[in-house]
Structures are given as structure tokens and as C-alpha cells.
Symmetry: none
Subunit: 213 residues, 4 copies
């Protein structure tokens, strides 16, 4: 029994529609090059309507970032906590999931935007560092530590390893949205296969002669 009048229904949906439009256009053309009227038009409303929901272009941007980032971060942490098997397998799984849910989706693109506009939105940069970067590092770092304690991993420096786990994902995200897919995944590899190969490589190392030999 939906009782809301059409008008009301539209109103409730507006913020999300505007954020979606903003996301698409900010990604497409960058923040500065996107006119607020374009955002409105893409959301199917007039210029002024945008300002009923977000008091300025800057606030729209911030809202869009918060909307698209915060959600996915929390989820991943929960999964990791209750896992029991081999850490290397957990890591593989997480990377795969993260790419599927975040990296190739909206959140991934937003990460790029935040990096680009960090200088212009210092508070947003801080928010991103606090809410995204640090939690991610903590999550991955804990995983690696667990692997070392269990004797599964060598006693590698944790922070450096975290970086090495994160950077390929970021790299792919950025390149996909900067130069298009064709330059990132060469040969016949999909992003997923590429990540898989990198994970495997990372686990076993590049050298033919094992360290202990």
C-alpha cells in the first residue's frame, strides 16, 4: 500500500538521483569542468532544484563522496574477522571481493576523485584517510600479522606488504578511468585474472631459487 503522492516519492528519490548524476559527471569530466546545471539536467531537474538539496557544488561533491565511500568499507572488515582457513586464501578472496564490489564500481571511481580533489577539499581528504585508508591498512595489516603468527607467512615487514597489496588495485582503478581498459589489462587477461596472477606472484615470489636454498 504505497500511499505517498508522486510528488513526495520524487522528493525522496531526488538526493540519490542527484548524487548519481554528480558521480557520473564528476568522473566523466572532473569536478571543476562539471557545471552544476549539468548535474541537475542529468538528474532530470532544473538548475535551482539542485540547490534545494545541496547548498553548493562543493557540498554536493562531499555528499557524493561520503555516500559512495562509507558503505563498502565496513562490510569487508566483518568478513575477515570470522575467517578460519589459510590466510593466503582469505587474502585472495578479499582482493577479489574488493575489486568486484568497490574497485570496479562507483566507490573505486570516487577514490580517484578524492585523490584528484584532495588539495581542494582538505577536510574530505582527511575523511578519506581516516575512513578509508586507515581502516583498510588496519584490516590488511592484521591479516598479514595473523599469517605470520600462524607460520603461514615469512616475517615480512607488515606496512610495506600492505602497500604492495593495495597498490595494484589502485593502479587498475586509476588507469581504467583515465585511459580506458585497453591499456591496463594486456594480452587476454581480465582485471580479475590480472589480480589473481599478481596475488600468486606475490605469494610465491619472483625468484626461481627459494630463499632457504
Amino acid at each position: 500500500m504505497t500511499t505517498a503522492a508522486p510528488r513526495q516519492r520524487r522528493k525522496d528519490a531526488r538526493p540519490q538521483e542527484l548524487l548519481d548524476a554528480a558521480l557520473a559527471l564528476f568522473v566523466e569530466k572532473g569536478f571543476a569542468a562539471t557545471r552544476s546545471e549539468e548535474v541537475a539536467a542529468r538528474a532530470g531537474v532544473a538548475k535551482g532544484t539542485l540547490y534545494r538539496y545541496y547548498p553548493s557544488k562543493d557540498e554536493l561533491f562531499k555528499a557524493m563522496v561520503r555516500e559512495n565511500l562509507s558503505v563498502h568499507i565496513v562490510e569487508s572488515a566483518a568478513q575477515a574477522a570470522q575467517y578460519e582457513g589459510a590466510i593466503s586464501e582469505l587474502m585472495r578472496q578479499m582482493m577479489r571481493d574488493w575489486w568486484a564490489k568497490v574497485g570496479r564500481g562507483n566507490a573505486g571511481v570516487v577514490c580517484k576523485l578524492v585523490m584528484i580533489e584532495a588539495r581542494h577539499f582538505p577536510e574530505l581528504a582527511r575523511f578519506y584517510v581516516d575512513e578509508v585508508i586507515q581502516p583498510s591498512k588496519t584490516l590488511l595489516g592484521g591479516m598479514i600479522e595473523r599469517g605470520i603468527r600462524r607460520g603461514e607467512f615469512r616475517a615480512v615487514p607488515i606496512e610495506a606488504t600492505v602497500h604492495l597489496l593495495i597498490s595494484p588495485m589502485l593502479y587498475m582503478m586509476l588507469h581504467e578511468h583515465s585511459f580506458g581498459t585497453h591499456d591496463v589489462c594486456p594480452g587476454d587477461m581480465s582485471p580479475e585474472e590480472l589480480l589473481e596472477a599478481q596475488m600468486s606472484l606475490l605469494l610465491h615470489g619472483l625468484l626461481a631459487t627459494p630463499p632457504g636454498t
Copy 2:
């Protein structure tokens, strides 16, 4: 040996001075947020003078990118060709050099700018892919291939490995210029130490139990 008059010398140096000013400001504030008058002022000339050398802000940007990117790629290729020792050592050396000469310097920042503005300057994106990305991949890919043929490396997938070599460098570059250094090199590691640790990690792998065991 014609020693140009000071006036002449100034004039000859203009283009470079303008490109330097442009680089500094584009990096500092982004392309859109940098006013062409600021560039001129920083180069010590008047607004109009800038337009004598570069017909538009866009052209200035492109010239600046070209100026700062092409140089360093070629150098490294020569070094690699005549190297004789262990490939892993060569790789280490190259990463170290690249970071010192490119990553932490102007060229590194320009890479970030190109990625940011790629959508706005498609021809520049193509130029970047052709002149920077592809040569780099070829260079690194060849190196890895050599290592495999020499029996030094396992038969890893080359392209994936190239990505895994490049991505941490890019990651550091981007973060340094987006969020400041403090988030990138945690603990007491310098960027150089971080790269070193990652290289070592990459070579020997993460697993305690060697693959052959």
C-alpha cells in the same frame, strides 16, 4: 661562441621558465584552478607574454607535459641493455633510479596530472600511453623475460609482473601529492626503504613454505 645579450638570453629562456611555472602551479592547484595570469606572474612576465609563447592554456599544459615526460624514459633503456649481472639486481637499481629521478621529481607529478586530465586531453593521454607507459612496459617486460630465460626468475606471467612492479611506484607518487607524505611511508620508512622492502618481498614471496616444498 656568440654570447647572447642578457635580453636575448632572457627571451631564449622564456619557454622553459613558463613551463616550469606551469608545472609548479598545475601540480599545486590543478589545471582548472590555476589561472594563466598566475603562471605568467610566476615566470616573471606579464599575462600577455604567456600567449606569445603558447596560444592557449591548453597548449601550455600539453607543452609542459611533453617537456617533462619524454626525457627520462629513454635513458633507462640504454643502461638496461648493457647490464651483465643478476637481473634482480638490475631491477632493484632501476626502481631506485626511477624513483630518484622521476617518481619524486617533476615527471612523477606530471604523471599524476596526466591521469587527472586524461579525459580532458585525449591526445595527451594517447601521447602518455605511447611515450611513457608502453616503453616502460617494454623495458620492464624485456628485463623480466631475460630473467626468466637466464633461469633467474620463475616462469611468471610477464605483463602481470610488470604491473606489480609499476603500481607501488605510482601509488607512492599519487599519495605524496594528494595527502602529503605522512600517510604513505608509515613507521620510520622512507620512500626509498619502502620500495626496497617491497622489491625484496616481491622477489622472495610472502609464503614461508617455498613452492617446491
Copy 3:
């Protein structure tokens, strides 16, 4: 004696409530700087409701002015007609009354608004001249004439004297609402005392040596 239902009473009171709100805000911030939504909000209704009663912001302003100006002029005329004592005393009384009822109240402020917006509302300016200025002049002029005929006043030029009676009142009104009270009534004088002093001064003149001496 039909006692209207509360709903009905609200509705009947609306126009007055809106005019009151308009008065307060136009005085506080000026016509241009007052948003029609603010007026509605202050009257406790929604934006759209305002337009049910007044078809535009301009019409609202005009209605508000008419509402607040016409009233008090008529009253005074009657009082004056049936007065019997010394004219100077009547004049004193009228000034005092006018200040108490008009000058320091809403009507006074509205005078200021009309002067400010006269150029923008020519018909309103005419209305003000016809309904306020001219009647006032006639009233005061008649009083002075009477004083002269009765031998109470010297044979002064009537119009000039009228101006000299009106101007201090206007001066006080304007300053009170432009710069706050502190600059208008210096020393320890209240507006009432100031008017009293001015009236006395006006009656007896400034010179120590009486004219006939």
C-alpha cells in the same frame, strides 16, 4: 454574534499577520533584501500561502504601506478642529502625540521605507504625498494660520514654518532606524525631551535680543 471557528479566525487574520510580518522585515532588512519566503515564515504560513493573499512581493509592499499610513493622519485633524486654547500649546501637544503614535511606531518606519522605495513605486510615492504629506501640511499650515490670525504668532511664512515643524520629526525617525538611537539623542535627552526643547526653541527663537528691541 457569530463566533467563527478557530480555522476561520486564522484565515481572517492572515492578511494582517502577513502585513505585520512584511512590515517588520522590510524595516529590518529593506525591501530588496527581504525574501518573500521570510515574510511567509514570520507570519507562520508557507511560501505559497502568501501569494494567495498578495499576488506579488510588490503588491504586498504596497498593501503594507497603505495599511500603516492612512490611519493616523485623520485622527489628528479632528482633535485640532475643536481645540480652543493657545495654538502653541496645541502644536506642542500634536507633536508629542504624533511622535508617540506615529513617529516611533510602525507608521514612522513606513515613512522611511516609502522614501527609500519611492523611485521604485511611483504610484506609492504619489499616494504617500497625497495621503500623508499634503494632509499633514494642510493640518499644520491651518494651525499656524490660526495662530497668526489670533495674534499669537508673528506673520511668518506658513509653508516654511510647516517644514520646520516636520523636519525634526523626520530626522529623528530616520536616524533611529538607520544608525540606532545612540546618535540621535545626545546628552541625556529622550526623543520626547528633544522635541520639547526644539519646540520651545522654535517658539521663542534663538536670539537673545527680541526683534522689537
Copy 4:
């Protein structure tokens, strides 16, 4: 030998031309109703040119006020100091001069504008009070005091008298610019004659019977 290039000559004149245009339009239509482009157009330049000289419409207004007010205040004070004859004659002279130079000219109009916009430009209101109102009061107050000490004037309350001197001038200024001249100077009086009549009235008083009789 005028050596300045036309371009330069124009540039030097621009600020004044813009201030003049601003004055005319602000008076004509009020501050809010005047578009900055109109000011520019009236000064014969394009919209953007205005902003080369004044960073905002507000600043333009303030500059215009300062330009038109400060000048005339100082002059009058000097004249008064060295006068020797009867104070009443000096006062007459000053009123006449003030009206000729200030009241009916630009400065007079600016006074009206300041009063209108005082709420919107508090710092300007303060400037006006400090630079115009207070000096004027001091000047006139001193004159009256001198007259009293010389035995020329009765021992009237000084502040009240100052108000009574100022208010008719202000009244005329405001009415001239709000409703046009026709309502202010009735009969066949010019503003000058009106002031003269008021001055005379003020000196000798309204009553036929001198106070001492």
C-alpha cells in the same frame, strides 16, 4: 605636453568615471536594484572592467561614498574658525554654503544612500557617523556655544539646537531625491529661500510676544 598614451589616460580616469556612474545609478534605482553591469555600461566599459577597479559591488559602493563625502566636510570647518562677525550671520552663511555645495549636489544624495543602506553596510554607517555627523555636530555646536558666550544667543540647549539646524537641510535633500522637487518647495520658494525663511524663523521665534515681555 601631455605624454600619456590614450590608453593610460583612460585608465587613470576610470575609477572616477565608475564612481560617477555608480553614484548616478545608486541614487536613481537604489543599491540592490542597480546591476553592476549597468554601472559599467554607464561608465562606458564592459562588465568585467568594473571588477578590475573595485573587487565587488559592495566595495564600489563604499568607495563611492567615501569619494563623495569626505571632501566637503573638511572645507566647511575651516571657514567657520576664522569668522569674526555676528554668529547668526555666520550660521546663515554656512547653511547657504552647505546647501549649495553639499546638499543639492552629489554629497547630499550620498547622505541619503548611506541612511538607506546603513543596515547593510555597518562599517560605512560608522564611518558616516564618525566622519560626517559628529564633525558637523561639533562644528555647529561650537558655533552656537560661541554665540551664547558672546551674548548673541539665549542660553539654549546646544544639542537640541544643532538638530534643529540640521534637520531641515536633511529633509529637503531626502524629499528632493525621493519625490522630486515639486513637493518640497511650495509656493514660489526656492530651496535657498526656504532655508533662509527657516533660518530667520529660527532666530526670531514663532511667538509674537517676545519672551521677556
